[in-house]
Every structure is written in C-alpha cells, then in structure tokens.
C-alpha cells in the first residue's frame, strides 16, 4: 500500500494477563491504510479478538497492554486518558461485536440506541436526525419509524447486525473493527452485510479490521491478511499472497481444512490444539503441531520475515527468504473423495418422510416435505436460518410433536412424541445438537454424560460394562478415556462436540441426526468432526441426516442433498448434480452466495 498516512500503526504490541507474565498477544506490528480492509484469521483462542480490540485502545477486563505502541492517526493511544479515549471511540473508531443480539441493549429501542451514539459524540438533535436517515440508507435499512421504534429482539439477526453496523458507522469513523460480524447469519444475509461493509469502506476511505475464523469470508473481503497463532502474527501479506501461496505450515493447514463448494474432497484437520497463554513452547509456538518441524524449531523463536515478496511475511524458520515450495512438500492437496463413499444402497430406505407438515402453535413451519434416507448413506438438508431445517430434525427425533403426515422408520410408522415411541426406536435414532456449549450439562462429567443413554436403555449394567462402553464410544470419537472425569467447561469446543457425538454413539444407533453440528466450531475443528463422521458412517454403517447451512460442507460429507426454502423442499438430488447444476432459482442463489476460497495464486 502506498497510501499517504496510515490510520493504525501497531509496533511490537504486547497484551498480558493482569498480574502475571503470561502474554495473550506479543510482537504484533501492523499498519492499516485508509480504505484498506485487513483480515485477521486464526483459530479460537489465537488472540484475534484481543488484537481487534487493542486497535481501538481497548482491552478486556483482566488484560492490559504491557508493551509496544498503538498509534491511531499519529496519536499514541496508550498515552491518552480514559476520557479522551472514550471521545475517540464511537466517533473516530468503532467496533462491531460478534453477536448483535447480546450487544444491543434489549431495553432500549434501536432508534434511541443509534441516537445515543450520536448524542454521546456531540451531535445536536436535528443534526442527529439527518445523520440517522443517512446512515440507515448506507447500511441498507429503511428509515421507517416503525423500524426505529422496535426493540432489538423484534428484529431479525441480519437487521440487528445492520443496526450494529449503523451504530458503528454513525459518526463516520476512520477505523472500524468488525469481530466476526456474520458468524450467526445465513449465507444470503452474510453476503449483503459483507457487501455493505466493503461499500462503506471504499466510499468513505474507512480502514477496517475484519476478525474472523471463516477463511473463505475473509478471502473475499480483505485486501490484506494477518494470520494469528498463539498470540503472534505468523503470516501476513496481501490476500492473494497469503491464501494463494501460503508460506507458514499453519496457514497451509488452516486452508486445507476449508471445505470447497466446487469439489468434494477430504478435509484435513490439523493435529493437536493451540497452546494456551502461559503454556507456550520456548521455540516456535506451532512446533508441537507442525508436520515439517526441524530440530531448531524447538528452541528458536522465529522472526516475522519477508519471504517471496517484500510484503509477504511469515514467522517460520523454513521459509525466510525462500520460495513457497519450502513447506509445500508435506502438504499434498486434499484428496478427492473415492467413489466407494457414494455407493448407493439398494432396498428400502431406513427413514422415509412423506407429506410432512409441521407447525408451531398455528404458524406452519414445514409443508408437504418428503425425503428418504437409505441405510449407510448421508443426506444433507440445506437451507437458510428459519427455513425449517431444525424443525424437520426435531420431528424425526420426536422433540417436536405438532405435525401431520408420515415418518416411517424401518418401514413402520413413527408416532409423534418421544413419550409414545418404543425404546428401540428411541435408541436407534440419535440426535446431535447444534451447539456443544449448550447441549452438555455443565454439572456432569464427560463420562457421566456419555453413560446416561446407556443407563437409560440398558437398565443396570455393571460398572465394568459402563466403563467398557464409554471408553469404546470415546475411542470412536478420538477422545482419550482420561477425559471422562472432566467437566464440559474444561474442554474445547471441538472436544465437547466429540463428547456429544460419543453420547449419541454409545447406544449404537442406526440413524444419526446432526443439526448444524459444526457451525459453532473453528474450520480446522470442523474438518476433524466431518472426517470423524465420515469414518463412523463407514465403520458403523450409520445413516445420517446432516443439517447445515454450509453448502461447501455438504460436498465433503453427503451423498444426497435436500434444499429447503421457507418450509418446502425446492430441490433434491445427488450432491454433485445439485451443486454443479442447480435447477431451482433459490438453490442457484445459495450456490452463488457461498463464500469460497478462490484466490488467484500470487505471481
């Protein structure tokens, strides 16, 4: 970038936990020019959000900036008094949080929230009204009184996120930090929010920082990328340099875990988990997980040095000043899926749904739905939020009882509710919930959670039988048996979801219903879970109903796909056919809106 004066300059920034030497961020040096969008990517816990907040001179409770400098338009933020900082924030620099539903005060009308920001930064009332109208137009919301007098919960997720954007853009800041602002949104809404951000940044020369674990989204929006790992920037450069010719083994690993909507391929997860602050290795932080490590990596902390171009930096001993191939050898491209996986089973379907119509109180959610799942096959159900996907899963599992039509399992009709189904059916259909942070009781150990269905379905097994079954189930999902004594809050998100899967597997079900089970997880963790499910499907002859909003993921796991829009099935077919030659306009729209990691390799 050859722009005049940068908006943000970070030099050797370090952020530490209070009263301990443990660093959450260290050695972070970055500059951001006006109009530039910097993407910060990395797994959970890598320090992305901390870095994003540090750019507006903010640290969360319990943390403190302990080294380096944060300059905003030439002003050192560390020298400012809290009052001066407050004046800058909201006015000249703004922050858009991850979850607008928790970030907007539920007791204040959204219009008042917006005016409050303007009033806090000294706009007069008439001035504010004019600006409100303007900023609403900018984020694509109508300037209607009935919208402004809504409370946050009365708006959709997309509208809430646009309001959060409007609040951030209200005072025309020159820097805006967006922290995973589209994580909770479906692809179409995500697309419009992303377009809005890109438009606003280019029209007003706003510098933006986009923090996300979704590599595909970042690749479409950002001009430059910083990859974070264990509190350090381990690779940076232009988007095409970093994603087109990744240098650091971590970046390569991250990219391989991203599913592609274009080809069905095995996703490759990285081994291990990132080190926690305070437990980072002496040498390169990535060394314990690195497939190409050499002896020196254990002891030597690599510097962030230029690689194949002056702007492309990587923090790896192997790549300093060398071409991209140095770390490439160990990374063959993701293998395409073999045909065996898609083998079509003959005979009667395990699950057959016909003329299913479901409603909540009186509002219809599903209409005239029909689909079939063969034994040992995986059917994906795809649709936006609110399309009725989850209701469908809940009808099948008996959690939702208000439906008409027919659901047949092993060729016998299923009654509606859990209470009216036979124990054998209840055992044979297991459900994995979307959010592993909510689906595990915080009061039960992992072992107790996994043993629960076992105790319910098998009466009073002996202590030894429970141990055997639980350890089997845990082995199947690649969790060590030692974790049986842990509580969910001592586990990572990926580990929790494995526990939830183990709980479903322990009673040897025939049909596994997976409801958006990777949407709360990092891409690399998602890759591991998807590979795990594929293996389990083959080893245990499981049939699966895989519900997702992520079309790219469908490619990597399912053989058949069912597209749902507003409670109706609009398209059904083998995955390749539907994704490559979508017939229904809705499917076509979904397919074109999927963010994909298609970057021209740097030349």
């Amino acid at each position: 970038m050859t722009s005049p004066s940068p908006i943000v300059v970070l030099e050797d920034l370090a952020v530490s936990l209070h009263a301990s030497p443990d660093r959450v961020l260290e050695d972070v040096s970055l500059t951001i020019a006006p109009g530039e969008i910097l993407g910060i990517v990395g797994e959970s816990g890598s320090g992305k959000t901390t870095l994003g907040l540090a750019m507006i001179g903010y640290v969360r409770r319990g943390l403190a900036i302990t080294g380096g400098s944060v300059q905003f338009r030439g002003t050192e933020l560390r020298d400012l008094a809290p009052r001066q900082l407050r004046k800058l924030r909201g006015a000249s620099m703004a922050y858009v949080p991850q979850d607008p539903a928790t970030a907007l005060n539920p007791l204040i009308k959204v219009g008042s929230l917006l005016r409050e920001v303007l009033a806090a930064h000294g706009r007069s009332r008439t001035d504010a009204d004019a600006r409100v109208a303007q900023v609403l137009a900018e984020v694509g919301l109508p300037n209607a009184d009935d919208l402004l007098s809504c409370y946050p919960h009365q708006l959709s997720g997309g509208q809430q996120q646009r309001f959060a954007l409007a609040m951030a853009f209200a005072c025309r800041p020159s820097l805006i930090v967006l922290d995973e602002p589209t994580t909770g949104l479906d692809v179409t809404t995500q697309r419009t929010v992303l377009d809005t951000v890109a438009d606003l940044c280019s029209s007003y020369g706003v510098a933006a920082v986009y923090v996300s674990h979704d590599v595909a989204v970042v690749s479409e929006l950002a001009h430059r990328i910083a990859v974070m790992y264990a509190g350090r920037v381990i690779e940076s450069g232009s988007t095409s340099e970093v994603f087109g010719g990744p240098m650091h083994p971590y970046t390569r690993g991250l990219l391989r875990a991203v599913p592609s909507p274009k080809v069905g391929q095995r996703l490759v997860a990285m081994e291990g988990v990132p080190p926690r602050p305070g437990a980072r290795p002496a040498g390169c932080s990535f060394e314990p997980r690195c497939p190409v490590r050499i002896a020196r990596c254990k002891t030597e902390q690599p510097e962030l040095l230029p690689t194949d171009s002056a702007s492309h930096h990587a923090r790896c001993l192997l790549t300093a000043g060398s071409p991209a191939s140095a770390t490439a050898a160990a990374f063959a491209a993701g293998r395409p899926l073999s045909d065996a996986n898609g083998a079509k089973a003959n005979g009667a379907p395990l699950l057959a749904i016909e003329r299913l119509t479901a409603s909540y109180s009186s509002a219809p959610v599903l209409q005239d739905v029909a689909l079939a799942v063969d034994p040992n096959s995986c059917v994906a159900i795809v649709g936006e939020s609110g399309s009725g996907k989850t209701t469908l899963a809940r009808c099948v599992t008996g959690l939702h009882t208000n439906w008409q039509g027919e659901i047949r399992f092993r060729d016998s009709r299923l009654p509606a509710g859990v209470r009216t189904r036979s124990r054998d059916v209840l055992r044979s259909i297991q459900y994995v919930f979307q959010n592993p942070y909510a689906s595990l009781s915080p009061r039960r150990t992992v072992g107790a959670t996994i043993a629960q269905p076992l105790l319910h379905f098998h009466g009073r097994p002996s202590r030894r039988e429970i141990d055997a079954e639980v350890s089997n189930a845990m082995r199947a999902v690649a969790l060590p048996f030692e974790l049986a004594d842990r509580y969910p809050d001592q586990l990572s998100g990926g580990e929790r979801q494995r526990v939830a899967i183990a709980r479903a597997l322990v009673v040897s079900p025939e049909l596994l219903v997976c409801d958006e089970i990777t949407s709360a997880l990092d891409v690399s963790v998602q890759a591991a879970i998807v590979e795990l499910l594929r293996r389990l499907q083959q080893e245990r002859n499981l049939a699966m109903l895989f519900i997702t909003h992520n079309l790219a993921l469908v490619r990597s796991i399912a053989q058949e796909v069912v597209v749902v829009q507003a409670g109706r099935i609009v398209e059904v077919g083998p995955v390749e056919d539907v994704l490559e030659r979508p017939q229904h306009p809705y499917t076509q729209r979904l397919v074109t809106h999927v963010p994909s990691l298609e970057v021209a390799p740097a030349t």
Partner: protein
C-alpha cells in the same frame, strides 16, 4: 446421576459451593456472613452461657442493669441477658423448618408448572395466584388462630405461606432451563418427566434456589417475630425474641434492654441474611454481561473503569 458410586459417572459439581465462596470473598458477602453468623452463634450457643434460667424470677420488674443482671430485668423481673441468649434457637429452628418446607413445596410446584406447561401449568399457577391474594402474615394468622399456636402448625403455616411466592420465582427460572439443549438431550431418550425435572432441571436452578432460600429465611423470621408479637407465635413462658419485644414494650422507659436487645438481634440477622443473599445473587449474575459492556464501551458510551490502557 443414579449410578453406583465411582468417580467418572456420579459427580455433580458443587457449583453452589463455588458461588457461596465467591460471594464470601466480596466485602458485601463477608459482612453479611459475619452478621448472620454472629446472631446464629448467639442463638445456638447462647443457652450454654446464660447466667440464669430464662424463667427464674430474680429481681424487680424492669429493674435497671446491675452486676447480677447485666441487662436488667424484664416485666416479671427475669434476667434479660439470659432470656436473650436462650430466646433465639427455637425461633431460628422454626424459621428454618418453615423456610425449608416452603422452598420444597414451591420448587416442586414451580418446576412442574414450567416443565410440564399446558394444563398442569395453568392449574398450578392459578392455585398459586389465589394463595398469593392473601398477605403472607394474614394467611399465617388465619391458620394459627383457627387451630391454635402449635409449633408444628407454625412450621406448616410459614412454609405454606412461602410456597406460592417461591413457585412464581422458580417457575420463571425453570422455564428457561427447561428449554436448554442439555435438558432436551435427556428428554429425547424418553426419560420420564419427573426424572428429567429432578436430575436436570432442579440442579440447574441452584442459584435462584440459594437466593430464594436466603430471602425466604428473612421473611420467616419476620413473620414468626411478628406472630409472637401479636401473641400467636411461640408461647410463653419460654423466652423468644419476638415475644420479648411485645411483653416488655410497656417498660421501655424504665429499662429499654428487654426490647432493644432482641430487636437488634432480629434486625442484624435479617440485614445480614439479605446482604449475604444479595452478594450471592451478584456473584451468580456477574458472568454473562461482559459482551454488552465491551460493545457499549467500545462505542464510547459508558464511563468506564475497564479501559485499562496501561
């Protein structure tokens, strides 16, 4: 978990203990606990240190304090200090038993209403509404004045008077918990509702239960002291704090101790319990507001102590 012993499958974490310990570390919680424990200590161990019997006639009515009777005498010339030391344990025991009964009944009703929804919810909550229409003290007085002031009846009356209010609070808390995925995950196995409520819903309500117990305990003490004051509570001649206030108020100008000492102890106990309960509630709540705070502070909205830019 109903399983047999063993460490992997049976453990329920003592979450409430963490919350209480956390509350005790705050100045609010610590001061509340000190006040509460002081009064409970006096009530529990006081009888051991009472210099005289609580019903012995030792001096003139409303005698001023002297070396023999450190707090003077009451309306019949009995030792005020001994009666104060001896007059708490029965009051506190009855209050605790009544509170426990109220909490158990109220929780059962509230959780059942929230979890079962539908008809059960409507029936339970309408009954609760009817009971709530009576002021608590009037309700207890009604029962006690009809049947007579028996100790067991006091426990039941106080318990019943708490139950509808507890049911209200616990129902709203249980409504939220009942919809959580980890409860659904058990439900989906076909586990009986009573079991789901007992094993999953109630343990998740431990925080509102603690807060509610503390609050109800204060009300129990107030109701019992009030009942004693109007003569329907624990009966003379055995001493108790509520009764002492009533018996001795005519002699307030001659010796204020027989009124002041029990009144102070009751006040200290209720304030202490309330403060402790409040601290527990704050510790339990102070977890999930972080994101909103960050979001508004990051837009420069609230004066903040949290912008720790070094």
């Amino acid at each position: 978990m109903s399983s047999r012993g063993g460490k992997a499958y049976s453990v329920r974490r003592r979450e409430w203990l963490h919350t209480v310990l956390g509350a005790l570390k705050t100045p609010r919680g610590a001061s509340g606990a000190v006040m509460t424990l002081a009064v409970v200590g006096i009530a529990a161990f006081g009888p051991l240190f009472a210099p005289h019997g609580g019903t012995e006639l030792l001096g003139a009515p409303f005698q001023k304090p002297d070396s023999n009777l450190p707090l003077g005498g009451d309306e019949l010339g009995r030792d005020v200090l001994s009666r104060v030391l001896d007059g708490g344990w029965e009051l506190l025991l009855v209050a605790a038993a009544g509170t426990a009964l109220g909490i158990v009944l109220g929780t059962a009703a509230g959780v059942a209403a929230a979890y079962l929804r539908g008809v059960a919810d409507a029936v339970i909550m309408r009954v609760v509404d009817v009971l709530l229409a009576f002021p608590q003290l009037v309700f207890v007085l009604l029962l006690v004045s009809v049947i007579g002031p028996k100790t067991w009846l006091l426990v039941i009356a106080v318990g019943l008077s708490h139950a509808p209010q507890v049911a209200r609070v616990l129902r709203s808390a249980a409504l939220d918990v009942s919809e959580r995925d980890y409860v659904k995950a058990v439900e989906i196995l076909g586990v009986r509702p009573a079991r789901v409520m007992r094993q999953e819903v109630v343990p998740s309500l431990i925080t509102p239960l603690m807060v509610e117990t503390g609050l109800r305990m204060t009300y129990s003490i107030i109701v019992l002291a009030g009942l004693s004051f109007v003569g329907f509570g624990l009966q003379p001649p055995s001493p108790n704090w509520g009764l002492m206030i009533n018996e001795n108020r005519i002699g307030l100008t001659q010796n204020y101790w027989p009124v002041l000492a029990p009144a102070l102890l009751v006040a200290l106990l209720t304030v202490g319990l309330n403060t402790l309960t409040d601290a527990i509630a704050r510790v339990a709540l102070g977890v999930d507001r972080a994101e909103r705070v960050i979001a508004s502070e990051a837009l420069g909205l609230e004066p903040t102590a949290a912008s720790d830019v070094a």
